[in-house]
Symmetry: C2
Subunit: 427 residues, 2 copies
């Protein structure tokens, strides 16, 4: 039986107890949320990692994308990215490789990763189709489901499937109303296939085959947003909403069949669209866990898109997004390197933490309250430990240490406001 099937029968597993205990809600509540498709635990039955809970009542989680492209393939570097992502707090990683030996890469990442691993199988289908047939449009329906099954067999915990990129929406896109028709790689591959073959998206048409594979491995389906807006001008448009309605329906089918789902969301959104987007998703998809990419609050932050994504992600989390996909400084420019991964994870972690604070999540408050006390008491070691990147804080402080008084810092020196005001009002 899958997690949903167990939960529907009121059976509370050790896994549910483990996640619930760590997150500070009751196993009964978590189990109920899983049964209703409002929370998921992403772990392939073949895997022996810490289970990851995402959704209602749970801390905001973050995902780091790693993986090669044809223009840059290096397994060792990707494994180092994995280590960095986990070290700085990624709750999950996705292997988005499209270059080099894909299966070997995936297996290495799964073997090394202590956290949930997600993939986008259509990438590998496309790579193989080019190798085998010379073109992505020649991939067959069986090619698609064979690769998905392979990923599940390899132990992948969740997969992105762009089931909502239907013939109808792709046909509508031809009107030219969008500045950027599709900015999702998987979505564009499927759109190309649909247009060329004049057939329906196999992931939509044969959704039952997806359900069958997912049930076997208790694989979580992340229903991808192939139509997510790729610029602010395209935000919250009909294409995006029609896809959301489609994947909301598929989510209901999956949950009724005992398969866990995440719903993926934008993308590029101006600040004033964020609350609406989260509430729409929560309403249309009946509180299913929402997994957002960014959202990026401007199109112009190249080199600093991790910051644009942190601005959007923190607020998306506050309004109810459950899972933030990080964005690195190299977004829109090139494949991320190790430092980009670090910067991206930390920015996303800050966003998720700020969201949890605003939602009143007690463990997040505990950390900030400890930081405030440490600041009050000039306890530098404690402050460093509580920060998101202790080594950076330590080395920054060492670069320009306080000269006269170890308690303060070189920003204010003798005019440390905490020191002066505590003396003034406490003595």
């Amino acid at each position: 039986m899958t997690r949903i099937e167990l939960a529907k029968r009121g059976i509370i597993t050790d896994e549910v107890k483990e996640v619930a205990t760590e997150e500070g809600l009751t196993p009964e509540d978590l189990s109920k949320n899983i049964a209703e498709g409002k929370a998921v635990i992403t772990r392939n039955i073949l895997r022996n990692i810490k289970p990851l809970g995402i959704g209602k009542g749970l801390r905001t989680k973050i995902n780091a994308n790693i993986g090669t492209s044809k223009d840059k393939t290096d397994i060792e570097e990707e494994l180092e990215k994995l280590d960095i992502a986990v070290r700085y707090g990624a709750d999950a990683v996705m292997d988005l490789s499209t270059g080099g030996p894909l299966k070997q890469m995936r297996q290495a990442i799964i073997k090394h990763s202590p956290v949930s691993v997600g993939t986008v199988p259509i990438y590998e289908v496309a790579v193989r189709a080019i190798e085998k047939y010379g073109s992505i449009v020649k991939m067959t329906v069986d090619d698609i489901f064979n690769v998905i099954e392979e990923h599940a067999q390899d132990g992948v915990d969740f997969i992105t499937v762009h089931c909502g990129v239907t013939m109808k929406i792709v046909e509508m896109l031809k009107s030219g109303e969008r500045v950027l028709p599709i900015v999702s790689r998987g979505g564009s591959i499927l759109a190309d296939w649909i247009c060329h073959n004049g057939k329906e998206n196999p992931l939509y048409e044969h959704f039952d085959r997806l359900i069958e594979i997912a049930k076997k491995y208790d694989l979580t389906l992340s229903l991808g947003d192939g139509l997510r807006p790729g610029c602010l001008k395209d935000a919250t448009d009909k294409f995006q909403l029609l896809e959301l309605i489609t994947i909301g329906k598929l989510k209901d089918i999956a949950v009724s069949e005992g398969v866990q789902c995440l719903i993926e969301g934008p993308g590029h959104l101006p600040i004033n669209h964020i609350e609406t987007n989260i509430k729409l998703q929560k309403s249309i998809c009946k509180e299913a866990p929402f997994y957002v990419l960014g959202p990026l609050v401007t199109d112009c932050a190249m080199g600093y898109d991790h910051i644009a994504a942190a601005i959007g992600g923190a607020w998306a989390g506050y309004f109810g997004a459950d899972f933030l996909c990080y964005v690195t400084p190299s977004e829109h420019i090139r494949l991320p390197d190790k430092n980009d991964v670090k910067e991206g994870v930390i920015a996303s972690k800050i966003a998720a933490h700020a969201a949890d604070i605003a939602k009143g999540y007690y463990k997040a408050w505990e950390r900030d309250n400890r930081m405030a006390q440490a600041r009050r008491n000039f306890e530098w070691q404690e402050q460093i430990t509580l920060s998101f990147d202790p080594e950076k804080v330590l080395s920054m402080r060492a670069e320009r240490p306080p000269v006269e008084d170890e308690r303060v810092c070189s920003m204010c020196g003798e005019f440390c406001a905490i020191k002066i005001s505590r003396k003034a009002v406490e003595e």
Copy 2:
């Protein structure tokens, strides 16, 4: 006559026309906003820089703090920080120096700065008091106003004055209800003076002397928030609100006397407090321009406080804050260096731009729409030009260039979604 006096008489100056034209509102509207204290133009009558408009109907502006502390004094470095701040888009800089030859530093910064310069004169009063009397609590009322007059004579465009740190609030702080009583340097200096001397804050008691100096130079008063929360736990508490009420009253007096004011605000605020804070300020201070520091949405982002501030600042701007004071990665750790200034300015600029986008400011949208078109058309030079740090984008792209097709990037390579989807739906 001061700007407010002219505006009250319906006289529209060239300066008002210049600012209004650039910002895309009518000179009449801007003039009305200035007359009512809802917008300011910060420029000392002795200065010949581009006038800076802040407030209702205007683009969100950003400020970069520079300046030495006793633990690190180097005029050349501060001038380089000034250049960097201006280069990456700071609309104003504040010289917060507390170490080295303060007057020389200030004069050099004013001479070199093409943008408005602000200061916090009480710092220099404190430094001189230590030199002259051996203690900050021995500074006299005349010492305070003499330094303020000197700053105005040197050409400073706006000054922070912590007029709202009254005896009554300082007395209340002794209850120990706050984790961090005061985190404002100026506020703590005044609190110390008040407690030691048992006298009222001279900036409050002799507010008329401040008005007199400000009128002479058309100096803008930035009514400081000495009681801003220094941690999330202290956010939006009675101390902060009582101070806001006090400075709101003083603002009314100043405006009626023809003196322009900014209202300073927090500080450390959880995301769910931001909208309330902005709306409270706008209501209590009758739409006076709001100048916020951050707000930082978590206490724990040491080393990455520019990101925590961008998250808060973007949303504060969206809800109505007019002027964002940047926060650098070195906040809470040490005096910023040149790179910190750059990182801080860019993060703050992204936040201000995202706020302007969300508020519907047409020039902000124009930039993003051009970026989206450039992305659609694979115009890399245009994308680089439109970014906030063209050199960084250029060098990042060069580090991992696309191998086969110059139109794409090494993130997706041949699987560029824009390329594939445009082919699919346009051909």
